[in-house]
């Protein structure tokens, strides 16, 4: 039998018992549908992270922290330099603080162009023309970090004038008519020093930031000049050794460095006792979490598929039983066992294909509908987020994987058919 005939006969055979095939296809459909949706969820969220956070651009920056010395369980030895972490992580996480000595040690590592300690600032409020004070949290701009802006420009790293980017939610509250009208105006930022004395600093609003998943949700971003001013203000009354302690620092390296060179730089920093992460590494951490969640969801879908594959085994065993005579006849007429095997295993693959293609197709329709509905309601504050997105490659992979599972399920009945003895099959009473 020609391969094309094997395929067309197998497809024809699968439609012979319509009800049975339909039920099996439904079982596979459920698995493939779930798998497509969960995968789409992963793709959607990861896409969003990539577009919002990875648009960061500057690939020439490493975030450096001091390597934790003691990773064992049990009470940690006291370290006077231990301080609260400012990088994303679980609440209460602490890191070993860095001192000016650390900063100069980092600067001495070959490949490091410049190093800038990240200042941890905690302003009290922000106030504009209408005089109402609103609580404000702010952080210094990480070099190279590009905020998603609704209006205005990124904070300038080189300008000596204090600049701030405010979240979009502050615009109306502070009395501006629109995002655009807030740009260029001056706001007052209040901050308390360690002696409980209040200080007020002026800053120019240069940009209005969108809310994004990537970090600066409801907080302002100060440029280097403003961050330094705020830091100086809040550190009044502290001894210089307490003041000059940083949770992390930003290191710039050569823009044209190859990934291998970056890894070497990271290795050199590691030998010097510092953990260094590129922006991509940090996004990678996010993605790893998302991928882990998607993996768990996917495993549920795969369990559904495994259950469905037993449906395929069952369906085909019944087919083989029903078609005993036919198989015997074909073998008597000179059809090889390999072709008989091919006939039944391809039928399984076809059933798998039907279930997965329909499942994936409907999942795409439903998923697109849901994410469109959510984007205009629940997630309207997160522009650009498509919760469930589909990539052709992952859809193709799902369909191929399901067809593969179906093939494996079909091997048992197909082998049974191939082994049939024509004389036994054609015997009649």
């Amino acid at each position: 039998m020609r391969t094309i005939d094997v395929i067309s006969t197998a497809i024809g055979n699968s439609f012979r018992s319509k009800l049975r095939t339909t039920l099996t296809v439904i079982a596979i459909f459920i698995g493939a549908f779930t798998l497509t949706i969960t995968n789409g969820l992963g793709t959607g969220i990861n896409n969003y992270i990539t577009t919002t956070v990875a648009a960061i651009g500057a690939q020439d920056v490493l975030t450096v922290t001091k390597t934790q010395q003691d990773q064992s369980t049990g009470p940690r030895k006291y370290d006077p330099n231990q301080m609260a972490s400012t990088s994303p992580g679980r609440p209460g996480q602490t890191v070993a603080g860095m001192t000016p000595a650390d900063i100069s040690a980092i600067a001495a590592v070959p490949g490091v162009l410049s190093v800038q300690p990240t200042l941890s600032i905690s302003p009290d409020y922000v106030e504009a023309g209408n005089g109402t004070k609103y609580a404000l949290s702010a952080s210094g701009a990480v070099p190279g970090l590009k905020l998603q802006l609704a209006a205005g420009a990124q904070p300038s790293a080189t300008s000596s004038a204090p600049q701030i980017v405010l979240p979009v939610s502050y615009v109306k509250a502070l009395g501006y008519s629109s995002d655009r009208s807030a740009i260029g105006s001056t706001v007052n930022i209040g901050i308390t020093d360690s002696t409980r004395a209040e200080h007020t600093l002026g800053a120019t609003v240069v940009g209005i930031a969108e809310i994004s998943l990537g970090g600066t949700g409801g907080s302002g971003t100060a440029n280097e000049a403003l961050a330094q001013e705020l830091y100086n203000a809040q550190s009044i009354g502290l001894s210089s050794s307490t003041k000059d302690r940083y949770s992390q620092a930003s290191v710039r390296f050569d823009k044209s460095a190859t990934p291998a060179a970056v890894n070497q730089l990271k290795a050199r920093l590691a030998t010097a006792g510092y953990d260094a992460k590129t922006v991509a590494d940090q996004i990678g951490t996010f993605k790893t979490v998302i991928d882990a969640i998607v993996l768990v969801l996917n495993s549920f879908a795969v369990i559904a598929l495994l259950a469905a594959s037993f449906g395929i085994v069952n369906t085909l065993l019944m087919s083989v039983q029903e078609r005993t005579r036919e198989i015997g006849l074909m073998k008597a007429m000179g059809m090889g066992s390999g072709r008989v095997f091919g006939l039944f295993s391809f039928e399984a693959v076809f059933i798998g294909f039907l279930g997965s293609a329909i499942g994936a197709g409907i999942a795409i329709l439903v998923g697109s509908g849901i994410s469109a509905a959510l984007a205009s309601s629940v997630f309207s504050g997160l522009p650009g987020l498509t919760l469930i997105a589909f990539s052709p490659a992952s859809i193709a992979t799902i369909i191929l994987v399901v067809m593969g599972i179906a093939f494996l399920a079909g091997t048992l009945p197909a082998a049974k058919a191939a082994k049939q003895d024509p004389i036994e099959s054609l015997r009649y009473e």
């Binding site: 039998m1 020609r2 005939d5 006969t9 024809g12 012979r16 005579r325 036919e326 015997g328 006849l329 074909m330 008597a332 007429m333 000179g334 059809m335 090889g336 072709r339 024509p422 004389i423 054609l426 009649y428």
Partner: protein, 244 residues
């Protein structure tokens, strides 16, 4: 050499049988439960002949047919096809020999009910990798020969008993076999329809020179064959040629 093998001189003096069984034995099971279905059967079938293998059920006639049709291998003895040892054929070449040399007509039709009559008839061609258009042409020609041309598109299950058996004959014919095995071809038909089917089989034998091997317990059908071999308890008890 085995003693039954005819000398070269003998072979030259007589035509080579298209199919021959040489002291064929077939047994099933082992030890106590051993059952000897055939206990040493020899026969020669010549091209264009019609032969009836006659016997009661359990006589071993079906086993003999299976061995001659190369569906099974004898426990002992040899089967020769065109003078060469057919037991040397294995796998692909065995399948292809069976496909191209033999046609089968069974008592219980073995048609796929849901498929069209044409699809049923062209099954041997499909198996022997004939292309789709050629299959259709030859299938329709075989159906026309059996006056079933107008039923080609019908479902096989919609045919009457006689029509079904004619479709089965068309299927047996479609690949131009040299030998047709008919296992109780009229067993499921009433006598009038059975007679028509018999006529068709014997006219194929006469007009197209196809060797016909009929396995039956029906004396009337056997009487129409050139030769009859009677089998009882796994042995040939009598051989009869048509009285001229």
């Amino acid at each position: 050499m085995l003693d039954w093998s005819p000398s070269i001189k003998e072979r030259l003096s007589m035509p080579t049988p298209i199919l021959a069984a040489r002291d064929v034995k077939k047994s099933y099971g082992r030890g106590q439960s051993r059952f000897d279905a055939l206990k040493g059967v020899s026969l020669e079938i010549f091209e264009g002949e019609s032969l009836a293998i006659v016997g009661k059920s359990g006589s071993g006639k079906s086993t003999l047919m299976h061995l001659l049709a190369l569906l099974d291998r004898p426990t002992d003895g040899a089967i020769e096809l065109n003078g060469s040892d057919a037991l040397l054929l294995r796998g692909r070449s065995l399948n292809s020999t069976r496909n191209k040399t033999f046609g089968f007509v069974f008592q219980q039709f073995f048609l796929t009910g849901g498929a069209s009559v044409l699809d049923n008839v062209i099954l041997p061609l499909k198996i022997s990798r004939v292309r789709s258009r050629e299959r259709k042409r030859r299938g329709l020609a075989a159906l026309a020969e059996l006056e079933l041309r107008d039923k080609a598109g019908n479902r096989a299950s919609a045919l009457s008993g006689g029509q079904k058996q004619r479709a089965v004959i068309a299927r047996a014919l479609v690949n131009n076999p040299r030998i047709i095995f008919a296992d109780e071809p009229t067993g499921n038909l009433d006598s009038a329809t059975g007679a028509v089917v018999e006529d068709i089989l014997f006219s194929l034998n006469r007009e197209q020179g196809i060797t016909l091997i009929v396995v039956t317990h029906d004396e009337d059908l056997a009487a129409r064959c050139d030769r009859r071999i009677y089998i009882r308890d796994g042995l040939v008890v009598e051989t009869e040629s048509r009285a001229a």
